[in-house]
Symmetry: C2
Subunit: 396 residues, 2 copies
């Protein structure tokens, strides 16, 4: 484990407490609290983490949640949020909020938008109404939302895009990043850039190098976890992270299974978001010390044990697998509520272990264990086509 | 207010603390706690109150919940419940449980059953499997479930049935009641009879008289709240209650809107169950001191007030109408969770007021206020065709 050296002095709103290999234990100072990294951020696209009340979310250890500036600006609209005094007040969430800009919707809503160098024209699939989103406007929206961490508007591409497409999108992303930075955010907000570059190592490298020269508070790795092989995810993340400034937080967008997290922490990533644990929950999947279990499976019909023998969450203290199996079988939404509660609790505990492993210099041991746990249970998983990819539509 | 007289001595497991007019303040002694009456019992047909965790249900003041022996016996099946040691343990509920026998399913599943004097043959609409339910078997099922209050198997009819049909069903109900009583339940369980008689006053009277002579722990008024005009509900309940023994609890099955409750409390009813507050919640409806509100309505889009200014529940302390309106608008299940929480909290507070009004001899004042509150807001309600009738399908 590396000790803090003199040049580890906290810069801006992030400090690295200690490092083991490339893995870093850090602290993020936001207007809504100080949060240890590596951190997992649950996704609350429509101003709510599905099936979780905000007070419960706080109680089980959530620090920062992710929401989506584009979606929230469309519905309920900025005026409603502004009346409440911001997104925190609107959704009664006192912790941190990171908002994605809308850049991901260039990818996920690709049939409903037109991109030019100036910005993006979105046509609502609901009512045909139009929204022309520029980098400046995205900043203004996120200022109104009062997000603790603001993301630049970026041009997110399908991973199978050509070199030419990836290059163009990267250049546009860089121009937009500069315009976002120039436009600025509120004093108490942090602004993160997003590195792109498609599936091409040289572009990934160039993007990270370019953005690193600009005064952002943090850097995201965007456009990955979109269906590419996991080895490719690791390689492209590695190339990007290697070029990013050491002293700034690094955020991998849209990846958050235990395996993804531990692998990317090893590469020096500090922040993660994913719908993985919450979406898995709604489909009957549980994250456990034995790996991922599909509680819908008939094998749990008479199983009196808790979801996870080693978990002390409220759900595991009170309910059996057989009960949750029954609820799933009857289509009762309480099943999703209980599994969401458990899976998020699991993730926050998991992150505590990740941080502890960095502190104790045991990241590699933990990595091996996690990979083993999640690979061995593959036979007992929910439909792999739904869940094995670490969620491409994380924020759509 | 009547004071307790010498012959008000607690008999079996119910005592009447005081009475005002026909309204009674009582106490029900069950194996899972002592509960004041009049009581409202939320419905948990499939071994869960929809969208509510059992610990939360307890926290907001639920005492007894209703479940359904027939449905639970079909899924997950008695073996699973028995393995857990009973329904309480299965659903992690430490309060009281009343189980309906399956009699209501003679009405609600009428295309899937055949009735004879011996019992009912149910054919599962899911897989065609058959279940022949006799009064004795219904007792055995409820013994396994470990319900605090067991309901006899009865023959529940559509309210528009002919005199002949109602008479036959009543006679059968009486025979079955005797068989249930003879078969018996566990020492710690109470057994309630169900008075029937269709829409006919003389049959209602005869049914109550017949059953009153048998040693039941309580008496239910069944086969009402099935679409008949409210005046008819009141009249038939009145006729029934007048013939029931004063010292035993009286339970009106399937009615539980505030207006229904206060009217029937005035007639001397002690117990109520209904899906009304929970189903209303899932459709965007809120019970408030201003009457019933439809939070889906566009008028709440920018409304920063809580659901009910006069409510101190967790939801009203934290969330605005605008936020819940947004969640409903986006189809987020959290809306139903928040509204269910609020509506049940409202009902339990409402019942506290009902009991207080009996204690203080102000039942009539409360009745007038409730009627006024709920009638004045009619214009602002959710679709009346869905909710104005006090839920015929309360347990199906």
């Amino acid at each position: 484990m590396s000790e803090r050296s003199p040049n580890n002095v906290p810069e801006s709103r992030f400090e690295i407490i200690c490092q083991h290999g490339s893995a870093r234990l850090g602290r993020l100072f936001t207007a809504h609290g100080v949060f240890e990294t590596p951190i997992f951020m649950p996704v609350g696209t429509n101003a709510n983490v599905k099936l979780m009340r905000s007070d419960e979310l706080k109680k089980i250890g959530a620090g920062i949640i992710l929401s989506n500036a584009y979606h929230v600006a469309v519905r309920p609209g900025l005026e409603v949020i502004e009346l409440h005094g911001g997104l925190h007040e609107f959704m009664a969430w006192s912790g941190g909020i990171l908002t994605d800009s809308g850049g991901f919707q260039l990818f996920s809503l690709k049939e409903f938008r037109k991109i030019s160098d100036d910005g993006v024209l979105f046509v609502s699939p609901y009512d045909g109404s139009k929204l022309f989103l520029t980098p400046e406007m995205s900043m203004e929206i996120q200022k109104v939302l009062g997000s603790d961490i603001v993301m630049v508007l970026d041009h997110c591409l399908p991973i199978e895009s050509s070199y030419k497409e990836a290059l163009d999108a990267m250049r546009r992303t860089h121009e937009w990043a500069k315009r976002c930075l120039k436009h600025g955010v509120k004093e108490q907000q942090m602004l993160f850039a997003i590195a792109q570059g498609g599936a091409f190592e040289d572009l990934r490298k160039a993007s990270a190098q370019f953005l690193s020269q600009l005064a952002f508070d943090g850097f995201a790795i965007g456009g990955l976890s979109l269906g590419e092989p996991f080895e490719k995810t690791l390689q492209l993340t590695h190339v990007t992270v290697s070029e990013l400034p050491w002293e700034k937080p690094r955020y991998f967008m849209g990846g958050g299974s235990p395996k993804t997290i531990i692998e990317l922490v090893t590469l020096g990533v500090d922040m993660f978001d994913s719908v993985y644990p919450t979406r898995l929950a709604r489909h009957g999947g549980a994250l456990t010390s034995l790996g991922r279990l599909n509680i819908k499976s008939a094998r749990y019909k008479k199983d009196l044990s808790p979801i996870d023998e080693r978990c002390d969450c409220l759900v595991c203290q009170n309910y059996t697998r057989a009960y949750i199996h029954h609820l799933l079988n009857r289509g009762e939404a309480l099943a999703g509520m209980l599994l969401t509660h458990h899976n998020l609790y699991y993730m926050f505990k998991f992150m505590e272990f990740v941080r502890k492993s960095i502190k104790e210099g045991k990241v590699e041991e933990m990595r091996k264990e996690v990979v083993k746990t999640y690979e061995e249970r593959r036979g007992n998983c929910v439909d792999p086509s739904t869940f094995d990819v670490d969620m491409s539509c994380r924020r759509c």
